[in-house]
């Protein structure tokens, strides 16, 4: 499991409007491309300076492909990153705060202690 890589995906997709739209329209294809091309990229270095060992496990890959924010929360992905990206992806289809409240409700079965978000 790589909480760091989950967070890296959420972080890089949330801050790039083209990637945000791409993830909205084609989540499975975006996750496959991102893991192949972007996962190893050091964020402050040229492409040749790649990390060689980072990869998702099957459940992480599935949760990202299916926009499954409940699973991401339960795996310990940083909740702020998940929230902001998924607001960008889904809020436009809903009334004011409707999506955010539904997002909370979808997790109401999750009780304290919440998963550790330490990477």
């Amino acid at each position: 499991m790589s909480k760091y890589l989950l967070d890296k995906f959420l972080f890089t997709v949330d801050r790039d409007p083209e990637l945000t739209e791409r993830y909205r329209e084609d989540p499975a294809g975006t996750v496959e491309w991102w893991e192949r091309e972007m996962a190893g990229t050091l964020l402050n270095a040229i492409a040749a300076e790649k990390t060689t060992w980072l990869a998702f496990d099957d459940e992480e890959r599935r949760a990202l492909r299916e926009h499954d924010h409940v699973a991401l929360f339960q795996m310990g992905a940083h909740p702020f990153l998940t929230l902001t990206l998924f607001i960008a992806v889904f809020e436009r289809d809903h009334g004011p705060l409707e999506y955010q409240k539904a997002y909370g409700k979808a997790m109401e079965h999750v009780t304290m202690p919440y998963p550790d978000i330490t990477t």
């Binding site: 967070d7 964020l43 402050n44 929230l83 909370g104 999750v110």
Partner: protein, 295 residues
């Protein structure tokens, strides 16, 4: 030596800009009350007649990231561009450019290191809403130079709460030892109880009104010891999963001083979080706006 003209602590609600500028059917029902409270709060800074703002905020994974995460970072640059794409997208925040105060930043870095705070520094920092929101609320002219100080309240492991208090105390001493005739305000923003991305998010009120009531009392009365006796990194998970931002309020309590009652205290029970605003005048309430300040 520089004069500490005011110590100010508040929440940094990113919806304020949109709520306060909205008109007609888009204007939320709580906007007028919110604006009135902010305008009274703004007067507490205006009355202090500051020349420079030291601004304590928490980065929200904008420039600071898990590949190289500082705990406390001082921005030392002549200018700071501000607000990020995802803040424009989500909150409608405007792009801004703020001037830096490099001499004070250099002083804080040198003196802070000598006081055993291992401060990181940045010569190119794009700041985010934890610092631009108090600019929008307290100094919308955005005409004063700033020294941004970023804290990690987001990415475990984090410093202990007492470390935030200690840094606040030190920041005050460093401002007061700066060889300058400038008037400096220290402004910091944090949270009361807050949940983001979890089951308690976006409720009718903050996730833990009882914590909020106690927290406001600690801050308003300067009860640092009482606060430290109850607040730990572990306990802060209970009032809401984003409540570690309260440690930036604790930093500001350190800057204000043990037992120092705030000269201005106000709150607003807004949906999903309690807004809170505090101002201290270390050298006495300025005559201008005193009636407002004491309200």
């Amino acid at each position: 030596m520089a004069e500490l003209a005011a110590v100010i602590a508040s929440t940094h609600h990113p919806f304020y800009y949109r709520a306060s500028t909205a008109t007609g059917a888009d204007r939320p029902p709580f906007a007028d009350e919110w604006v009135a409270k902010i305008e009274r709060f703004r007067e507490t800074l205006t009355a202090a007649e500051p020349d420079v703002l030291v601004m304590v905020g928490s980065d929200h994974f904008h420039q600071l990231w898990l590949d190289n995460m500082p705990q406390f970072l001082v921005g030392k640059a002549p200018f700071f561009d501000a607000n990020w794409h995802n803040e424009e997208r989500e909150f409608g925040l405007p792009r801004m450019t703020l001037r830096g105060e490099e001499d004070l930043a250099a002083h804080i870095l040198r003196d802070g290191l000598d006081r055993d705070f291992d401060l990181a520094f940045s010569n190119e920092l794009r700041i985010d809403h934890s610092i631009t929101c108090p600019i929008i609320t307290l100094r919308p002219e955005a005409d004063l130079p700033i020294v941004p100080v970023y804290t990690n309240i987001f990415a475990p492991p984090m410093p202990q709460p007492k470390r935030f208090v200690q840094l606040g105390r030190a920041l005050r001493e460093m401002v007061e030892s700066w060889e300058s005739d400038k008037r400096v305000a220290i402004i910091g923003t944090g949270h009361l109880s807050l949940e983001l991305g979890g089951p308690r998010q976006f409720g009718e009120h903050g996730p833990d009104p009882e914590f909020d009531r106690k927290a406001v009392e600690w801050i308003a009365s300067g009860d640092i010891e009482g606060c430290l006796a109850e607040v730990t990194l572990e306990s802060l998970h209970h009032p809401g999963n984003a409540t570690h931002g309260f440690m930036d309020f604790m930093l500001m309590m350190g800057a204000a001083g043990e037992g120092q009652k705030a000269d201005h205290v106000d709150t607003l029970d807004l949906f999903h979080t309690m807004e809170a605003y505090f101002t201290w005048y270390p050298n006495g309430v300025p005559s201008r706006g005193a009636a407002e300040v004491r309200s």
